[in-house]
Amino acid sequence: MSELAPLAIAVPLIASAATAALGAFAPRSLLAALNVAASAFATAACAVLARDAALHGSVIHWFGGWRPAHGVSLGIAFVVDPVSGALAAFAGLLTTAAFAYAWTYYEKDDGAFAALLQVFSAALIGFFLTGDLFNMFVFFELMSVSAYALTGFRSEDSSAVQGALSFAVVNSTGAFLVLTGVAIVYARTGALLMAQIAHSLGGAADPLVVVAFALIVAGFLVKASAAPFHFWLSEAHAVAPTPLCVLFSGIMVQAGLYAVARTYWSVFSGALGPHGDGVRDVLVAFGVLTAIVGAVMSYAQRHVKRLLAFSTVSHSGLMLCGIGLLDPRALGGVFVYVLGHGLVKGGLFMGSGILLNRYQTVDVEALRGKLRELPWLAVVLALGALGLAGLPPFGTFVGATLIDDGASRAHLGWLTVILLLTAALTGAAVLNAVGRMTFGWGPPPDPRAVTPGRENPETEAATGLRLVNMAIPTLALIALAIAFGFVPVASTAVAAAGAFADRTVQEAVVLAGGAPVPLPSGPAVPLGDGILHGAIGGALALALAALGLFADRLPIWPLLKRTYETAMRIPHAWHSGIVTDYVTWLTAGAAAFGAALLSLTR
């Protein structure tokens, strides 16, 4: 069965090379079928592996057949546990949906778009499955390089290449932070396999271990778009082709978060465990900052794709808080949230892609009242907004419930309130936009404000069958997001997170060839409080959206408007669009992150 693990990346890579080699000659329909089939195969392979891992314990594939001898590993292993397998399968699923949606994309481009997307998805899958720290860096870079290239895809659009450049500069710098951390941990342990590093590090932490952890996690937080490393994200999303935004927001950012959790639990939890409180405080602080900055900026946007991008920043902060709690229950919640959020956000981005295709713009003010022509799309977007706010039965509420449980177990009740508010604000941002686009509600824009220019259409305006091609995946993702809330996944997720966080079993299985341990049944998870919570979140989202739409009828409106605009000047100034500013923030953020960890883990 473990042969499926390498095939899950080999098949997409071969499809990619074949698409590039045959792009100029083969009929388009053949290439499209080839790519959808390859993605579907990778998805199925990862799903089978995840199921196998849950039933019989972790599935391990040793590349080159180099099993560890005398407890020392010579090679690289893919270690598929239920979590990594499920996330890899989800990456495959979103890629398949993106290929189905993007049917029209690679008609004119020699298959380069499809070839790059296929490499990107293989890199994501490899990133999730690998059990080797340096190999993780390689897949991280592979994912990044293909993503930079795909972001610059619409290079006739003047801003696309600029967004891709910011993306590439900031993310490459993050990758170098990771590599520096990996290098010094290698100097200490002489190992690159995670289980072996954890084994060698033992239970003692000194500044070298803390700094290595800080550098690796800070680098992955760049990909996870935690503040103040998040600036690249809105630029990359604003210009990237829509099917790519689905993957960026739905799984790539989450891959960065997964790597943070993986790094802590599989590598450093033994050494840093005694300082768990310090690590928790730092991660939760960065998570809270990210959740707030993202939500506030999201609410202030009028470019729908940027709005959704900042909303991803906010939700990434929420998930970072869940990881930072260092609690298997909250971690299980994060994994459920990744799936729930990915489905909702994917549906929302695909909806915005339909707007862009039809009206050549995603500027809310330019679309005022236009959405009346597509009432079904307005409903889909509004539903997605409520999903972001965590309204049951969207899958997001199950994840949020578990994260809240973890927060109250850590005596951080205030965290629950902040996460509820920020999630509601991101939902309100979308509802606000839907209200304006559908009914023309809301105060008119400030005439002094800069009007965003007309976007270059990504594709020719779709009608008939092509519109159906775009509508089906959009509807399917939102429907799945709702259906996911009814799947009794919470208890399994907590059990899977427990296995994910169990370093000693991983060491025994990976390093010593011990028998894999099947997933135990998880604890019962009552969702009653969560449903109430989610309902409050949904109501808050509606209220905040109404505030944005109708506050101009209040007597205190001029004061309110002036205060809001003055306050917003500060975060707007941070998001200056200048790549050198972003590098400066990254340097400051990495230094602050490292210094905080060093001082709190002494």
């Binding site: 042969e3 390498p6 095939l7 080999a10 890579l13 071969i14 990619s16 090379a17 074949a18 590039a20 080699a21 100029a24 594939h61 040793w62 590349f63 080159g64 057949g65 180099w66 590993s73 690289i76 481009d109 380069a112 790059l116 490499v119 990107f120 340096f134 190999n135 390689v138 870079e141 592979l142 390089v145 293909s146 290239a149 610059g152 895809f153 290079s155 003047s158 290449v161 891709a164 010094i184 100097a187 200490r188 002489g190 190992a191 500044p207 070298l208 803390v210 700094v211 800080a214 200056s576 200048i578 500013d581 400066t584 340097t587 400051a588 990495a590 230094a591 602050a592 490292g594 210094a595």
Partner: protein, 256 residues
């Protein structure tokens, strides 16, 4: 931020990061002391297990062959992206005669440059191929040798000019070759998975250490890498050479 504010913040946070990093580096083993065990073990085992004198190549193409596969696809993705970005606005123009505005014509290329450039082509290819095909015996390999070999395209451009480069190395031919090299690596992995039960596991006879035909799958994988690297870099040279075919002023649309 104003440039001045940015400079100050960058200097302060750079210094802070330096201190953080040094706090960790101070606990590194003393310079010149390598504790192992990974590298020590590979040095001991590679000559025995793989009959290969070059332990670095054993790591690159066998023990950690998956890293190298990822690396080849990083090259593949970067070349594809570079081509997309540069070629977008001059699609299908590369075959047609192009305006020569802004180009240094054949006339002002000195005889010395042409003579040495032409002589250099043969030397470059011979040396590059030699480095590329002996990864198991001497330092070198598909990537190093491939990079050197691909220099022939730059020399053609230098000595003979744009059109000969496009004639001898048209992208219609180099791009599929590059893709075949990349796919070859993965296909070797799939074949060994079928034959030996593990991806990239050796299933060919190892031969005698020090022989040209030895070390099993390593030369096969190396060949795929060499092919991909040569073709990939020739595509890159070709794309940047295409850029010289336009006057910059024609293209600039300065936005207010």
């Amino acid at each position: 931020m104003s440039p001045r504010a940015r400079g100050v913040l960058a200097a302060i946070s750079g210094l802070a990061l330096l201190l953080v990093v040094l706090a960790g580096f101070a606990k590194l083993p003393d310079f010149g002391v390598y504790l192992g065990p990974y590298g020590t073990l590979v040095d001991e085992l590679a000559p025995i297990q793989r009959k290969i004198p070059n332990a670095i190549t054993a790591v690159n193409f066998d023990y950690r062959g998956l890293d190298t596969m990822g690396e080849e696809f990083i090259l593949f993705a970067a070349v594809a992206g570079l081509t997309l970005v540069l070629r977008k606005d001059r699609r299908d123009t590369t075959d047609a005669p192009l305006p020569s505005a802004g180009l240094r014509g054949r006339a002002d290329r000195s005889d010395a440059i042409r003579a040495f450039g032409l002589a250099g082509i043969a030397v470059t290819i011979a040396f590059g191929v030699y480095v590329a095909i002996h990864p198991h015996l001497t330092p070198g390999g598909g990537f190093q040798g491939g990079t050197i070999t691909s220099g022939f395209a730059a020399l053609i451009f230098l000595a003979l000019g744009y059109r000969p480069l496009k004639r001898y190395a048209p992208h219609q031919r180099t791009e599929p070759i590059e893709a075949i090299g990349a796919a070859g690596y993965v296909l070797v992995g799939v074949a060994t998975l079928a034959a030996a039960g593990a991806f990239l596991a050796n299933c060919l006879p190892l031969g005698a250490s020090g022989e040209f035909f030895s070390t099993g799958t390593i030369p096969v994988i190396n060949l795929c890498v060499a092919v991909e690297v040569v073709a990939g870099f020739v595509v890159v040279f070709g794309e940047f050479a295409d850029e010289t075919r336009f006057e910059v002023d024609d293209e600039a649309e300065v936005e207010p």
